[in-house]
């Protein structure tokens, strides 16, 4: 990826060239290298480095937004003229808030050069190690080994200069056996922490344990959700339930519930871009510093993500969660951290008379944001737990369940958080959860 100075220089040049009342330039750089494998061989192998820039100009209370690729600076004049044309061709003015000024940010270590620069040969070596284990067990390995980096810059005509970069590496594997499968994934900021052998063995063990899966009737069960499954649930809280604008406009489950107990007292949920390994951006998409938020404290709804618009609507301070000056979707907590508890997975299993252990969910979607009801399928390792022991593998089932109801029914919280990737803005950190009365509504054939 290009260095900070080069990116800032590119954005600053545009700001200087602009004759608008206000100008903001943001640049996103993304390098992604990914080796994909299935049926124990490499099937795709790609590398892509791309930059995109967005110019926002304001002329006489009218906004023009243009974006493009390639930061060679050749066509900047053309883009600035287009932004001006968009502004001038508008008949409707809207309220324009002043641009943020220069400020300091708190940075955590989130970039590793070696991780960004892993070669295709190095990725192939990791994949070979994984595939060897699968082949030995007569299973088909499918997955990815990817590495890359992201950089993000904002410069505006009020003196603000913000830059952030993170690296990322992901190893993900599905071990496919005759009538069962297992899955494991690791997302890290540095390749030093990646353990391909361990993840592959986990996937293979899950596939072995879940062979010849049995049927159970849909209904309410105590569930033990591994961290990946918990991440699938709480990710919906990020962009719907805790969306500051939805809360302010009465469109969220949490609207008018400020200060109320809405989950089990074992649930402590934060938005924390500074959590180790998450790689969150320390500023929002306008350039305001992102504050760590306590969303739920002992189950009580405490903080609301805000930008300036939502802050004004709710008479709160701006805590730096804007998705952009003209955003109409609403400020979001992008780096959820569900605080770990004191129970390990073994204890959760040992204390369960009858329940279901879930590795991950698949294709989860929101049914009703006002009740936080979602539906989705289990995938790659679902097990019956009986009398404190993991028994049979089960055929996959569909759940239809309110997330907030599930968080009110938490029985135990895992003692270890795992980071789940959340794209270029960083990820989530979540532990395993044991939850009572989790509703499965139908089953499938495998």
């Amino acid at each position: 990826m290009l260095k900070k100075e080069k990116l800032i220089d590119f954005a600053s040049t545009i700001v200087k060239m602009s004759d608008a009342d206000m100008t903001t330039v943001s640049v996103v750089g993304n390098k992604e290298s990914l080796t994909r494998f299935s049926n124990n061989e490499i099937t795709q192998n790609v590398d892509s480095t791309k930059y995109s820039f967005t110019i926002r100009t304001v002329y006489d209370g009218k906004v023009g937004i243009v974006s493009g690729t390639s930061i060679d600076g050749k066509n900047i004049k053309k883009f600035l003229e287009k932004a001006k044309e968009i502004s001038k061709n508008q008949t409707h003015k809207k309220e324009i808030l002043p641009l943020p000024s220069k400020t300091d940010y708190f940075f955590t270590k989130s970039f590793d050069k070696k991780t960004e620069e892993l070669s295709p040969d190095q990725r192939a070596k990791y994949v070979k190690d994984a595939v060897k284990i699968c082949a030995k067990e007569k299973m088909n390995g499918a997955g990815i080994f990817s590495n890359g980096a992201n950089s993000f810059v904002i410069v505006n005509s009020n003196g603000l200069e913000a830059h952030f970069e993170n690296s990322n590496v992901t190893f993900s594997i599905t071990a496919q056996a005759k009538n069962s499968s297992g899955w494991a994934e690791q997302n890290e900021l540095s390749v030093k922490k990646i353990d391909v052998i361990k993840s592959t063995q986990t996937a293979v063990e899950k596939a072995k344990k879940s062979k010849n899966p049995k049927d159970v009737k849909p209904g309410k069960y105590t569930v033990i959700l591994e961290p990946a499954a918990v991440a699938d649930l709480v990710s919906f809280l990020s962009y719907t339930t805790f969306n500051g604008l939805m809360i302010a406009e009465g469109r969220s489950f949490l609207s008018n519930k400020f200060g109320q107990k809405v989950a089990s007292e074992m649930v402590n949920l934060y938005d924390d871009p500074y959590f180790e390994g998450v790689g969150g951006i320390p500023f929002d998409f306008e350039g305001f510093p992102r504050k760590k938020l306590t969303l739920l404290e002992n189950g009580v709804f405490k903080d609301i993500p805000t930008d300036r618009k939502v802050a004004k609507m709710l008479n709160l301070d701006n805590n730096g969660h804007s998705l952009g000056a003209d955003d109409e979707y609403g400020p979001l907590p992008l780096n959820l951290y569900l605080k770990e508890g004191s129970s390990n997975l073994e204890e959760m299993i040992k204390t369960t008379k009858e329940g279901i252990l879930v590795t991950q969910f698949h294709y989860v979607n929101m049914l009703n944001p006002m009740t936080t009801t979602i539906t989705g399928m289990t995938r790659n390792g679902i097990f019956l737990v009986k009398d404190g022991k993991v028994k049979d593998g089960l055929k996959n089932m569909r759940f239809t369940q309110s997330i907030m109801e599930a968080l009110s029914n938490v029985l135990m919280v895992g003692d270890r958080c795992i980071v789940q990737s959340g794209g270029f803005g960083g990820g989530f950190a979540v532990p395993a959860l044991k939850i009572k009365d989790f509703t499965f509504t139908s089953k499938t054939e495998f």
Partner: protein, 481 residues
């Protein structure tokens, strides 16, 4: 551009590529949004290239947004190095199905270029819709949008093809979010999640009757707040065209992508129950179910001259008289089902993505029923339409879909409006419950602009044609109390 493309091919051959292609893509987008009286206009223009090579039967791909001769040379070399790394873990060499070479310029037929329509005119239409939607206080969010995309794509391969395509698509839609009675309900027009999209120009927007329907959509959103819930029961259901699009997409389109069938998507999007031993034998649906793929159909979002393998667009059957008879294929995998030629389904999101198999325009052929007669023929059912939520398992069997609006059908008559309508079933079981399809007068193409697949993730666009269709004895109202 063709000269730059040939340079890429020459460099790739120099580094040992047995096959190479390059796509140089120039994309223009314009998005115009009005939300609660506030206008946002976003214009983008991206340009770059992607080079794909085969080295000893393994793929390598690299891309760049810097279109210069030196960068083309660097990227072509890099693609070859990546392919060499791929070949170190290979079980079977990639074999490309034969395809003629073409020198052609193909373009979307367009009457009115949307990029030349003044911004004020486009924004004014959205402001008028916004005003109607917000005339009643129960509507808390009025959201209307237009979107236009122009892709100029040069494809050059080492076999001698040189193809330029100009693809243009236009779309618009709006939604009204009503709050009250401790509930929130949304109605959209013409379809949800962005509206209706076709390949073509601004003439499409003018034919959508956007303004004429705004009052009805607003009032339906408000009426849903106090409407009874869809019962948790088993009913005959008639699904409208705007929801059938999702049904076809999820339970037939993805299930018949050959790469999924062969396990290439196992770790991410999933695989398919429609495995090869079922080919030309399996009863996918009842005898009246006929689904065809067609990348030549007028106004389809996957309609183009050639795919990203340089394969000429075609029409073929996927399900014929209820039997599985076809798959979505590319040059790499066509031979796995004994075909000597690809069906032309290899597409990528942009210059930075490797082409993968994507659903083509896939449609359910119309039947013979008038909608009025179909309702009269239904004793105890629900009519539901316009997608609200979707979920399906990784082999495309167990699905559960939700609709924005429904109406009770009692003794052949359309009755009360119902909210929170959903239905759940197992794909082939469900399609075998299909016993009536409305005729061509009710048939339309519906655009999908947000189909995700692949790692790194890619988005693709396609259309699905359908008319209202009846399915017998389906579980509905899942989770409604």
């Amino acid at each position: 551009m063709f000269k730059l493309g040939k340079l890429a091919i020459d460099v790739a051959k120099h580094y040992g590529a047995d096959y190479a292609d390059i796509r140089i893509i120039d994309t223009k987008n314009e998005e115009i949004v009005v939300k609660n009286g506030k206008l946002n206009v976003d214009y983008s223009n991206t340009l770059g290239f992607g080079i794909r090579v085969l080295y000893k039967g393994s793929w390598g791909f690299s891309s760049s947004d810097n279109l210069t001769t030196s960068e083309i040379k660097r990227v072509a070399k890099e693609a070859c190095l990546i392919a060499k790394a791929s070949s170190s873990l290979q079980r079977e060499k990639v074999r490309l199905a034969k395809e003629d070479t073409y020198k052609d310029h193909w373009f979307t037929p367009v009457l009115k270029n949307p990029f030349r329509i003044p911004l004020e005119r486009k924004a004014d239409l959205l402001f008028k819709i916004d005003e109607i939607l917000r005339k009643k206080s129960e509507i808390k969010v009025a959201y209307s949008e237009m979107s236009f995309q122009n892709i100029r794509k040069w494809f050059i391969n080492s076999e001698g093809s040189e193809i330029l395509q100009d693809l243009l698509r236009s779309g618009a839609g709006y939604s009204a979010t009503a709050l009250g009675n401790d509930d929130m309900q949304v109605r959209s027009y013409p379809a949800s999640f962005g509206g209706q999209y076709y390949s073509g120009g601004y003439e499409i927007i003018e034919q959508m009757e956007l303004l004429q329907n705004a009052e009805r959509i607003r009032d339906e959103a408000i009426a849903l707040l106090t409407a009874p819930q869809c019962p948790d029961d088993v009913k005959d259901i008639i699904i409208g065209g705007a929801q059938m699009v999702l049904q076809i997409h999820e339970s037939v389109g993805h299930a018949t992508e050959l790469d999924r069938v062969l396990g290439y998507e196992e770790n991410y999007a999933g695989s398919s129950f429609a495995t090869l031993e079922k080919y030309k034998k399996f009863r996918y649906g009842s005898k009246i179910v006929n689904l065809f793929a067609d990348a030549t159909i007028p106004m389809g979002l996957a309609t183009q001259g050639y795919d990203d393998d340089g394969v000429k667009s075609q029409r073929w059957d996927i399900v014929k008289d209820g039997i599985l008879v076809g798959y979505m294929t590319n040059r790499e995998l066509a031979h796995k089902i004994g075909d000597t030629r690809s069906k032309g389904c290899n597409r990528s999101q942009g210059f930075y993505s490797i082409p993968i198999i994507r659903i083509s325009n896939l449609s359910l052929a119309p039947g013979e029923w008038e909608l009025e007669d179909l309702i009269k023929d239904t004793k105890d059912g629900i009519y539901m339409d316009v997608n609200k939520s979707w979920s399906i398992d990784q082999r495309r069997l167990n699905f559960q879909f939700g609709c924005e609006i429904g109406y009770e059908i009692k003794d052949g008559k359309l009755g009360r409006m119902l909210k929170n309508c959903s239905y759940q079933d197992i794909t082939p079981v469900f399609w075998n419950k299909c016993d009536a399809i409305c005729n061509e007068n009710y048939w339309d193409l519906w655009g999908v602009i947000n189909c995700g697949k692949g790692q790194p993730g890619q988005r693709a666009e396609m259309s699905h044609g359908a008319a209202p269709t009846r399915f017998r004895k389906v579980k509905v109202g899942i989770g409604n109390k």
